[in-house]
Amino acid sequence: MNYTEKVMDHFMHPRNVGKLEKYNAVGEVGNASCGDIIKLYVLIDSDNIIQDISFQTFGCGAAIATSSMTTEMVKGKHIDEALNVTKDQVAEELGGLPANKMHCSNLAADALHKAISDYKAKNGIK
């Protein structure tokens, strides 16, 4: 049940942390009873590029590290491209996750999907 160095790095030095000053999309998933809540703040420009992104996470080391990694992976990407980023890719980028953390704590991609689909709905993008 140990974390890889990469996980520990993202956990100890999370990237894109906190709440953006300016954002136009938000996605939140998880709940306290399962122990993980992840909220993404996304600034999407008129070309549908993710200009900036940040996260807030209540959760274990894996939850924080996957949040951090996900933001890094999608920043600067077109939203449709960003939607292709999967949990497995996030875990892979982190050098792997303990089996029992694979699904419960790897929620940032879900949060991103939520943020983007809300954004799309609000802005009439299909």
Binding site: S33, G59, G61
Partner: protein
């Protein structure tokens, strides 16, 4: 290893030097089998039986009432399974009473028995983790065979009133088992004074070796063994004796009991200082447990808005070892069953950290720990969505009030 502050003494403790000294001859040259008739066997047998005497003395039992086991988990299994199968077949009694805050070695075993047809009552606790003795009394039925309650809770440090429970059990003619794992060396444990029938302990919680424990069985109350085979331990536990473990246990318990009152007082001061500072200096924290009765070496503190594992890992990085819940349930993503049984809401249940002090703990350790805790909590809260929401709601409330 860099300087570390080990505040996980409820999970396990390192072997103390006196124990190492006591076992060393049995690692170095005295390698006989205590059941052997020759000199190599007799020398080892003598030390092994002396260790049994030490355990007996420490808990005020007789030597023949002490059975060496591989750990308290085995001891608890032996009482619950072995005892019950014996009792059921003799008397038909098939109901046991335990609590919702027991260690998994009792709890899972009771659940397994339940699946196989034993009736089990899991007594609830209140928000401080306390039992209701009236409820205990009224849950005793005609077919109740056994009550199993721990002496000191491994997550909160709560002390349970085993002497009162023993009295109730005796009145009703029900056998009483105590899991005293976290009590040895922390509070006095006297089987005669308590009046229990079974009591389990494990060496590694008081600076003995992991893989070595003892089970007290009141003389005359033995039922049937969990592990059968050779004639060891008066036919109550088969298998070649763990000589090194038992000799270490004997020395460890002797010292633990001798030093108990002084060491408990010392740790109480340190623990109280830790709690006072954290509660004063870190907002939205509280102690989880019974304010009126906790063993002095454990402090379970909830840090709202942040998750326990994240705290654990950050402190670990800073050189401080603490835990979330019990070590044996790590790998489990559920919040602690003990904290949950105290009706703590799920978010807070995920936010609790257990600090457990021990022989190595100093006042400097505590102050350093508080500093690191403050820093860690404020860092983690800085990006906690739960904390953010809480602040916003508070702002709104204040805005309304204006």
């Amino acid at each position: 290893m860099e300087k570390r502050i080990y505040l996980d003494n409820s999970a396990t403790t390192p072997v103390r030097p006196e124990v190492l000294e006591a076992i060393y001859p049995f690692l170095k040259e005295l390698g006989g089998n205590p059941s052997s008739r020759h000199k190599e066997g007799r020398l080892v047998k003598a030390a092994f039986e002396k260790a049994r005497d030490s355990v007996a003395t420490a808990i005020n039992a007789e030597s023949k009432e002490v059975i060496f086991t591989s750990c308290a988990t085995e001891g608890n299994n032996t009482v619950l399974k072995g005892y019950l199968s014996g009792l059921r077949s003799r008397t038909g009694k098939n109901h046991i009473i335990t609590t919702a805050v027991e260690h998994p070695s009792v709890l899972s075993t009771a659940r397994e028995l339940e699946k196989k047809g034993t009736e089990v009552t899991f007594l609830p606790v209140d928000k401080f983790g306390r039992l209701n003795l009236d409820m205990l009394r009224s849950s005793i039925k005609e077919n109740t065979g056994l009550i199993s309650v721990m002496m000191v809770n491994n997550e909160t440090g709560n002390i349970y009133p085993v002497k009162e429970i023993a009295k109730i059990a005796a009145e009703k003619g029900v056998l009483f088992h105590i899991d005293a794992v976290q009590a040895i060396g922390k509070i006095p444990v006297d089987v005669k004074d308590i009046g229990c029938d079974f009591l389990t302990l494990t060496a590694h919680k008081f600076y003995g070796l992991k893989g070595s424990g003892a089970l007290y069985v009141k003389w005359g109350k033995w039922a049937s063994p969990l592990i059968t085979g050779g004639h060891q331990e008066r036919n109550r536990r088969a298998g070649t004796e763990n000589v090194v473990g038992a000799v270490g246990l004997g020395k460890a318990i002797e010292l633990a009991v001798k030093e108990q009152s002084e060491e408990s007082a010392r740790l109480k001061k340190l623990r109280d200082h830790l709690e006072k500072r954290i509660l004063e200096e870190v907002p939205y924290t509280r102690v989880v447990g019974d304010p009126g009765g906790r063993a002095s070496f454990i402090s379970n503190i909830s840090f709202r808005f942040v998750e326990g594992e994240a705290i654990l890992l950050k402190l670990d990085y800073d050189g401080i070892a603490v835990s979330t819940g019990s070590a044996c349930s790590s790998g489990n993503l559920e919040p602690s069953h003990v904290i949950s049984a105290m009706k703590v809401d799920p978010e807070e249940a995920h936010s609790s950290i257990r600090f457990s002090l021990g022989r190595s703990t100093t006042a400097e350790d505590i102050d350093y720990t508080v500093e690191r805790v403050k820093e860690t909590i404020s860092q983690l809260r800085s990006f906690s969505p739960v904390y953010d929401k809480f602040l916003l709601e508070n702002e709104k409330k204040s805005a309304w009030r204006v």
